[in-house]
């Protein structure tokens, strides 16, 4: 994979250029976690892992212990003394990881079985003993560098795809039928010396295979067609269903009459090709939904509730109003509540867009979605999860999403004008032959149905799905998850981009500001203390310092700072500095008499924000910045990235209203946002995207989720969507051009099943080859 992995793969033990465990460049071990993981793997005799793994450098770094999830609660009883559990393993990216997990678990004497699924990232294992053992085994996996979470219902929905299975089954049956019918058909086409009796036998055999195949394998298409008709619309499936069924019926009548040709091969091949397109399309989007379900599963967690005995960890859903929750430093509030006592420092960026953390006094209402930047505090819950502000927002989004579901795709628009024309041509052909020329109605039916099947060649029906598969797959490889089937079309049509600032244009987390006056050694010293804490600023300090080992014997004084001997790192008061309490500053003092050194933090712009905006302008889109933050910060961000228009102090309702106003003015806005405050605007916009690390609400409202940290993915996605759209239009045009030649043949009764098969195959081939162009990498 990367050069770094190649080096570690060649000499795992000797390499000093990269961490021996996670492969991050730097020392032999980038952190204590990696060293422990490496020792653990060596102790189990599983070093072969390092020669095989293909994970990206730094991905396997064991995270700081997350606030303990209660895994035992999720264990299920398998037999009288054995338990089993399903976990989501986020870092599971290569075959070597699967091997390592299974081997490491199998090495535990009480583990009965362990099996990891690389595609769904699901690890299921069972052990002999009490349910509580789940926590230890999950901790073992976490120590190896994998992020684990209980397997959530959302993951299950994304993985257990009954509809996809049904499609695959239908495709298998159709492919079997098409191949066997074709075998018989070819015998009829080439066997000019075949007797009439043998030909009838061939036709009857073809009917024997084709009738159940058309009935069984066509079900997904018929269902979709009926659903569309019920809703008063016409989609491509209506045309295809009618074509297939009419062709089968006509062929059956020809078999009964002992006519020269039957068309069973065309009907079954059409079904097989269409279903192949569906299967591929679904597989492409299923991977995207799975990745998102995984991101959400890692976010949803448990809360610590005070009870008579102390603290217990329970699921968010079981919390009732009046319960008291302990919110640890760095934890996200999941429920609405009030601060019970003391003072709290909360980062409300996700709910309001403000960058600087705000102080809350006792009794003040705390917004769900905020992150605790100060000491641990107790929150009294005022609304259960299903009645809270987040749930209210989710319901609003659902309604907005339904409105968007009514968007008519280009394929359906093409179908709605094309299907009546095709059917009219077929009807005219029938009437012309029957009444005009005066042949028997059964004979007149043959050219009519031939026109029907030739007018619905797969070329047209797979014109758009083929492009979708290619484009969605290409975007997936570049870290853009496409969530909605019509997302690419809407994205291609957008002409105006509305961006959020905090967390979208910026990193959404504090970044250490450079300071020339600061002695160089101070950062490393302070970071070795900071490594012991989960406080957001301590983590930011650690990120700035790079890989560094934690100093031993560090004591954390909650809400104030860290202490090791005489050295102190923390708030101004804690370090004895006479300075006003500013939101994002840490002080470090190596000894009581040493000078205090200030570390200032700010929410920095993403490194590629300015080039990404420039790329959007080059694509002909106008940009605009809407933020809930104060005017100076918004102006600065707008100036640094070259966004011409900006507005500050915008409330969530204002954002949604602004999008509405743009739409009614005839604009097609693309909204890019990450926060709870953006979710409404995301759902209302013509198309929407949310960056990596967005809140779950924003992710579920967005059409695209950018998984990489780079904003450049957005202009690249727009360029891909536009190319895909152009390819889809060319495909539709190409299949219509085919019809211009083939339909007159069919109407005049010149088309044989052989010609129909050739038309079908060649138009499909052209359409698929053209679709492949949509996935090419082109710089936006």
């Amino acid at each position: 994979m990367t050069a770094i992995t190649a080096i570690t793969a060649a000499a795992p033990a000797l390499s000093t250029a990269a961490c021996a465990h996670c492969g991050a460049p730097g020392a032999r071990f980038c952190c204590a976690g990696c060293e422990a993981a490496h020792d653990l793997i060596a102790g189990l005799g599983l070093e072969a892992f390092y020669r095989r793994r293909e994970t990206a450098a730094g991905e396997l770094r064991p995270a700081e212990p997350a606030p303990g999830t209660n895994f035992a609660r999720h264990a299920v009883i398998e037999s009288e003394d054995a338990h089993g559990i399903d976990l989501l393993v986020a870092g599971l990216t290569c075959g070597a990881c699967v091997w390592l997990l299974e081997q490491a678990l199998a090495a535990e004497p009480d583990v009965l079985r362990a099996r990891a699924n690389l595609q769904t990232r699901r690890l299921s294992f069972a052990w002999r003993g009490p349910a509580e053992r789940a926590d230890q085994l999950a901790a073992l996996i976490a120590r190896l560098g994998f992020h684990v979470a209980p397997w959530s219902p959302a993951c299950l929905r994304a993985a257990e795809d009954a509809e996809g299975k049904a499609l695959l089954r239908a495709f298998g049956i159709a492919a079997f039928g098409a191949m066997n019918v074709m075998m018989l058909s070819i015998a009829v086409w080439v066997g000019s010396d075949m007797g009439e009796g043998t030909r009838a036998l061939m036709h009857w055999l073809a009917a024997l295979i084709a009738l159940p195949v058309v009935l069984l394998a066509g079900m997904p298409l018929y269902r979709s067609a009926i659903a569309a008709l019920r809703a008063g619309r016409i989609n491509m499936d209506c045309a295809v269903s009618l074509g297939v069924l009419a062709t089968t019926a006509m062929s059956l009548s020809e078999t009964l009459r002992n006519g020269p040709f039957t068309w069973f091969d065309g009907a079954t091949a059409l079904l097989a090709l269409l279903l192949a397109g569906r299967v591929l399309d679904r597989a492409a989007r299923r991977r995207a939904t799975q990745v998102c379900a995984e991101l959400l599963a890692l976010q949803t967690g448990e809360v610590a509730r005070h009870n008579s005995a102390g603290i217990e960890r329970v699921a968010v859903e079981s919390i009732r109003p009046g319960d008291r929750l302990l919110i640890a430093a760095g934890e996200r509030l999941r429920l609405d509540g009030v601060l019970e006592a003391g003072e709290a420092l909360l980062d409300t960026a996700a709910s309001t867009g403000e960058t600087l953390p705000r102080r809350f006094a006792a009794g003040e209402a705390l917004p769900a979605g905020a992150v605790n930047m100060g000491a641990a505090f107790t929150e009294r819950v005022t609304a259960a999860a299903k009645d809270g502000s987040l749930a209210l927002m989710a319901r609003l989004l659902e309604r907005a999403g339904q409105a968007r579901g009514r968007y008519v795709s280009i394929a359906d628009r093409a179908a709605s004008f094309y299907v009546p024309v095709a059917h009219a041509v077929a009807l005219a052909t029938f009437l012309g032959w029957w009444l005009g020329i005066g042949v028997a109605w059964q004979e007149a039916l043959v050219p009519a149905v031939a026109a029907l099947i030739i007018t619905c060649p797969c070329g047209l029906a797979i014109a758009v799905p083929a492009v979708q598969v290619v484009a969605v797959g290409a975007l997936f490889r570049r870290g853009v998850m496409v969530m909605s089937p019509t997302a690419l079309e809407r994205l291609a049509a957008c002409d105006h981009v509305v961006l959020d600032k905090t967390g979208t244009l910026t990193e959404g987390r504090p970044v250490l500001l450079p300071d020339a006056a600061r002695p160089a050694s101070a950062l490393a010293e302070a970071a070795s203390l900071a490594a012991a804490s989960r406080h957001p600023l301590a983590r930011a300090l650690l990120r700035a310092a790079g890989p560094i080992a934690a100093a031993p014997d560090v004591a954390e004084i909650p809400g104030q700072g860290l202490r090791r001997g005489a050295a102190r790192l923390g708030s101004a008061a804690f370090c004895g500095v006479e300075a006003p309490e500013e939101g994002l500053t840490l002080f470090y003092r190596a000894a009581p008499e040493a000078p205090a050194i200030a570390f200032r933090f700010a929410d920095a712009l993403r490194p590629d924000a300015a080039p990404a905006i420039a790329a959007l302008h080059r694509l002909g889109l106008t940009t605009e910045l809407l933020s809930g933050d104060a005017a100076p910060a918004v102006l600065e961000a707008a100036a640094a990235t070259g966004i011409p228009a900006w507005r500050a102090r915008v409330t969530p309702a204002d954002k949604a209203a602004h999008i509405e106003a743009l739409r009614s003015a005839g604009c097609r806005p693309l909204m890019l946002g990450d926060g709870i405050n953006d979710a409404g605007a995301l759902a209302l916009a013509h198309a929407s995207a949310s960056p990596a690390g967005a809140t779950d609400l924003a992710q579920s409202a967005a059409d695209l989720v950018l998984q990489s940290e780079h904003l450049m993915a957005l202009p690249a996605a727009i360029a891909t969507a536009r190319r895909a759209q152009a390819a889809a239009r060319q495909n539709i045009a190409a299949s219509l051009a085919y019809n211009a030649i083939a339909v007159p043949c069919a109407v005049l009764g010149l088309a044989t099943p052989l010609i129909a098969a050739l038309v079908m195959a060649s138009s499909s081939l052209i359409v698929i080859l053209n679709a492949l162009r949509a996935g090419r990498e082109v710089a936006p």
């Binding site: 091997w99 199998a106 595609q119």
Partner: protein, 53 residues
């Protein structure tokens, strides 16, 4: 042409067996983890306690 009475049922029978085999393979979950199966084949030492989920 009498050979057809043997060959045609034979061809159809073989095709039917193939389609039944395909349906069985879907049902037994063999398409659940295509990526995993692709790399699993390269492991030379299988975990001692592995079993189907």
């Amino acid at each position: 042409m009498t050979i057809l009475t043997l060959l045609v049922p034979l061809a159809l029978g073989l095709g039917l067996i193939a389609v039944l085999f395909f349906l069985w393979s879907i049902r037994s979950g063999q398409y659940e983890d295509l990526d995993g199966a692709a790399s699993r084949i390269l492991f030379d030492d299988q975990p001692s306690k592995e079993s189907r989920p």
